[in-house]
Each structure stands twice: as structure tokens, then as C-alpha cells.
Subunit: 390 residues, 2 copies
Amino acid sequence: MTGHENSANGEHLVLENAQLTLDNGSVLKALTLAYRTYGQLNDDRSNAILICHALTGDHHPSGANPLTGRAGWWDNMVGAGKPIDTDKYFVICQNVVGGCAGSTGPSTLRADGTPYGLDFPVITIGDMVRAQNLLLDRLDIPDLFCVIGGSMGGMQVLQWTAAHGDRVFSAIPIATAARHSSQNIAFHEVGRQAILADPDWHGGNYAAEKAEPRKGLAVARMAAHITYLSEAALQRKFGRNLQDRERLSYGFEADFQIESYLRHQGISFVDRFDANSYLYITRAMDYFDLAAEHGGNLANAFTDTSARFCVVSFTSDWLFPTSESIALVRALNAAGANVSFVEIESDKGHDAFLLDEPEMEKTIVGFLGAAAIARGLPAQNHPVTGDAHD
Amino acid sequence: MTGHENSANGEHLVLENAQLTLDNGSVLKALTLAYRTYGQLNDDRSNAILICHALTGDHHPSGANPLTGRAGWWDNMVGAGKPIDTDKYFVICQNVVGGCAGSTGPSTLRADGTPYGLDFPVITIGDMVRAQNLLLDRLDIPDLFCVIGGSMGGMQVLQWTAAHGDRVFSAIPIATAARHSSQNIAFHEVGRQAILADPDWHGGNYAAEKAEPRKGLAVARMAAHITYLSEAALQRKFGRNLQDRERLSYGFEADFQIESYLRHQGISFVDRFDANSYLYITRAMDYFDLAAEHGGNLANAFTDTSARFCVVSFTSDWLFPTSESIALVRALNAAGANVSFVEIESDKGHDAFLLDEPEMEKTIVGFLGAAAIARGLPAQNHPVTGDAHD
């Protein structure tokens, strides 16, 4: 196996003993930040793309994910010859601070051997992005060729351009918004209350009790999962089809496929995610409101960046509907930013950004290609290796 | 107080010792059905309007509700001089079988003094409507001038016309559908799983354990409540407004008004509703699929009725969207039914049917007035009494 292949598959790395000043005023010390890189940084250190993950994502967008045993969550998008081409770009993805995939979060053990639990400070999207800046500093990368992400990842993209705009050459916020809406806060609150209602949560100290709020977290995931799909997609995939039976049971078993599917989503989620991290990361999303942080005028958030933007939304996404992207585009226009906007026809709902959407891929390839020319990047970073994509 | 005033305020009544054969094949014996009537039945017994309540409703649409201490759930619609005018019509509302407001349901005590719990049979919309037919028989009312209801009440309206079409002169299904969609089953399943996850549910035997799955039922209600409102209404009413504070707390208190509101909705719901009834009634809605019961062709459901229909939907209702009403209207047209259809512009979401919607009121007044002429009902059932509305 060559070094190239290794880095295309992703290096698993940690940044240790970092220190982060948080928006709530406290300081997180001895911070660990798990991340993964793909591809090669060029000599100019000008070809780095940061991928920001969503609520329940991790730093394994591509290649085998050791946490799930499956392919990464954006494996269709990221890799050699793929839209985010690891033959051309140095791709970085960091597990957000507060997460549970390797970065310091509420389940991390403190010096005394106990996990933070609810002693962990409430973090924000701003804190997550500041932690990513620490990583850029450590890697000695002056600025990002591109920062890209969907949903909460898109919030981080916007936060990058608003708070660290001089470090961003281009930005692709997908299926996101510049503030979390009332309805979205409401769905998050239902999920949090489901976790808090579980007696196995133990006020956040479940680790000490050798317990886990599995049922509560599963219910939270089930509620959230519905919001990630469109009504049309649910009807198309499941409709009112029965699960492993020919007639209604007149009972409370999972008669319908959609029930069985949702139960499976809930149960499998708790195997890979920490309940307290779910509380903290949903809270960070709820707190996100770029306009409020800039005197009530969203355009003010973007006055200090020369980044070029590509805003992407999906027609059937009702969690982060196109109207949110339009509000963002209007503000970017008011700030005089260079912005293109694409609404992609899809019935797959919010999750469309994670799925095989040829229009999204074409949009990103086109935008990155034009940005690469503007940046003066070569068309290929590596010698052509004769892969299938060439 | 005159008899007229008494009946305008509503008589509280029960039908006892009924017997009901259920869709699941079993027979419910010694059934009690709580109901309420308003106004006077005319000599021809031809002016009865049956109001069908929704999932968490009861038989108190108008006047003081002894269960809540507040006005009935449709007090704006039902009463002397109101759109469903108790000066003209004899109005009946029955608590559905399986409910918890007086009719036999899972919390009802059996002969041995224990509640049914999960021994209660799974009931259907068809069973609910058959129980309403028992009441008509007992009251010696040959047929209904009108059957009206929203949401699950609308399902009952459709079931009336499909299964007992000869007893229906006119029908007003509001904000409803001829089948429960995959997305709606999904939301119900989340609510049920929240209840089942609560250790105080005790496999449905919480009464014996002197417990109540309050937290689980509250979470179920919170999730459901979001679906009753539109994103626009939530944004308009709550937005990102903070609750009793000037800045974010960086904690898990109800920082936002929407969180506080939802928590209140959850907590106050458990004081008036039984968790097992919630399981059973949501299940009845999930099972509803008129087309499936008629060879896969919805039009076939309406071939045996000469009822005139007024179908009403609301633009911002995403739980029972207008597309469901359109599918219904198409089937009614295919069946040669007399049908009018109104989609009402409103940002209030599914709950619009319970709220002060002048367009809905005008639609119903107009439809009922024309139907009354066709039925040969007098313009006024009672001598004018000089009330404000005259």
C-alpha cells in the first residue's frame, strides 16, 4: 500500500492538550480534538478543504468508519475522483468539541477519572469552529480553500465566514440556516425531554451508575429522524406497507414498515452516540443565530469576508427549508458577497445532502473547479494514477 | 334558567350497558358511552348534527367542560347563534369508545375492579362510529342531518358515509384524510414509544402500581403538539424569543419561549388524558385506510351514500395537508357524490380547525344553510329569544 492510498483512505489523528476559550466565558483545558485527513497538503498549503459534520456525524466522512464498521457518512462525496477529490485537495474533518467520537465532550473522563456529565460547559457553534481553528493553527494551514457542510455542518460553514472570514476562500453551506427556527428548537426540546425523562439518565451521571438512557435517546432519535425525511419519501419508501405480516395485528407490535424502520433507527443510534453529547450538540444548534450576534442584521455577519459562497438547498427539506437559504442569500447579497444559490429538486427531505444527489455533486464539482482556478490551484495535485475515475 | 338554556349549555348523559362488536372480531359488553347533547330534536327527528371529536378531544365541544374547567374545545363553533346553531339543530357529541372522558376505554374498571389496561381490545375508527350508531338507535334518531369533525373527527365523518351512508344527509370532513399517512404513523409511533419507555407505564398496568407514565405521555404530547402547528405560526408566536430572561443561560433550562410552551403543553396534557387511551386512539388512526377497506379504490367507499359533502382543508396544515383532501374530493367525484371543497388560507397549521377561522365558519354556515333548505328544515327551530345573536 502506498502512502497516497493511505492518505486517500484517511489518517486518524488527534490534537491533544489544546485549550479553548468558550462563548460562555469558561476555558476548556487539556482538550483532545479527533480529526481525520485525506489527500496531500500542497506546497503552498492552499488546497485544504474542511468538512464540517452534522449533529450526529463524526470525523469519518470517507473510507471505513471504525465507529460503525461501515463506510463514512459522505463516502459518495469524498475520495479519489469524487466531487471532493482527495487527489486534488487536502481534506480535513474534525469531530466537534462536545461530541462523542474522539473529541472532548461530556463523556470524556476528567483528571479524577469521572466523566464531565453535566459539568461539561454548554458549547456553541462558535466554539466548535474555534476548535477547528486551533487545528488549522497546529497544522500550519493559513486558510481554507473551502469549508463545506450540511445542516449543523452548514451552520459551522457560516460561522467560519462570519468569525474567521479571512481564513476562508470559499464556502458551501448546504441544507442549513443562519439561525435555528422555533420549530427546530421545538423538535430538539422533545428529544432532550425524552432523554431527561429516562430514569437511566440519572441527571447526566449515568456512567457512574453503570447505566445508559437508551430508551430516551432512542425516542429522541426517532422523533428527529422523521424530520430528516420528507412526507413524500416516507410515503414512497414505506407507505402503509405492513412489516412481515399480511394483516393488521390489532396490537401494538410494529405492524407497519415505518414503525419497524423507526424503531431500528432508534435502537441502532444508541449504540453509536452518547446521550449527553446529544443534549449539548442540539443545544449548540438551538443557540445559533448569526443575525442576533450581529446587531440583528444578518448581512453584518458577512462584511469581513471575501469568501465566495455556494448555497445549496433541497425542495423537500422542511427542517431547513429553502426559505432559510433564500434569507441567507439575501443577506449575502446585501453584504456584497460573491454568492451562487442552487435549490435542488429532490423528494428526499433534509437527508438529501447525505445521499446520492447527482445535481448536488455537479453543483459542488463546478463550484470547486471555478474556485480552484480563481485560487490558482493546479487541475491535478497528483500524477494521474490510472484510477477508474480518470 | 329555562329548559332551553339548559339544553343550549348541554345535557351530560351516558348510554349504559351497550354491546359492541368490534372490527377485531371481539365483543365489548357492558359498554358505557358518555355523550352530551345541545338544543332540541325537532318533531321530525331530522335536525340532528353529530360532532366527532379528535384524538385528545371529548364530548364537551361547547359550554363549560367539567374535565378542564374551561370552555369546550369548539365553543366558538357550537352554541346558540353560532355556526353550528343549537337554536336550530340538535347537536350530539359522544366520547369515542377507547377514550378516557367517560366512555369505556382501557382505564375503565372491569367487573373484578381492575382496569382493562392492555386487555382492552384494539379499536378502530369503524368501531368508534359503530358506537355512535348505537347512540342514534337508543335516541331513536333515524339519520343525521349532518356529521362533522376535524382530524380524527373527520376520519369518523368519512367512516359514517362509507359504512352507514344511509344515515347521513350531509358530511363535513375537516383537516383530515381517508387514510393515515406514513409520516403520521411515524409521529404516533414516537409518541407510543415515549409512553412505553416510561417505567411508570408498567406494561400498561400503572393503575395497579399506583403510578402514571407522566413523563412519557408528556413527551408524546410535546412531539404531537409540534405537528399541530405550522412552522410559520411557531415563528410568529414564539420565534427565538427568550423566556423570562434577557440572555441565553448556557444550560438546559427552558431558555426559549417555545421550550417553555411545549413543556407546559406536555405537563398539562397528562392531567386530563390517560396514557393507555393515547396508545389505543393513535392506533385507531393509524389503522384507518378507507381505500384499503374498499378493494384499493377510495371511490368505492362512497358508492352507497347520497350524502352531500363539504371538504375543508387549511393551507398550512402539514399533518393533514390539502393533498389528502384533494385525493378525497377526487374519489368523491369519481363516486358521483355531491361535493364542495374549500381550502382555507391560514398559517395556523392543523389546529386551525379548532381556532377562530372566519372563513371556515362562513363555509360551514353556508353549507349547513343550503343543506337545511334541501332537507326542508325551518330556518329557526325555536322562537327567537332576543339573544345578542338575533
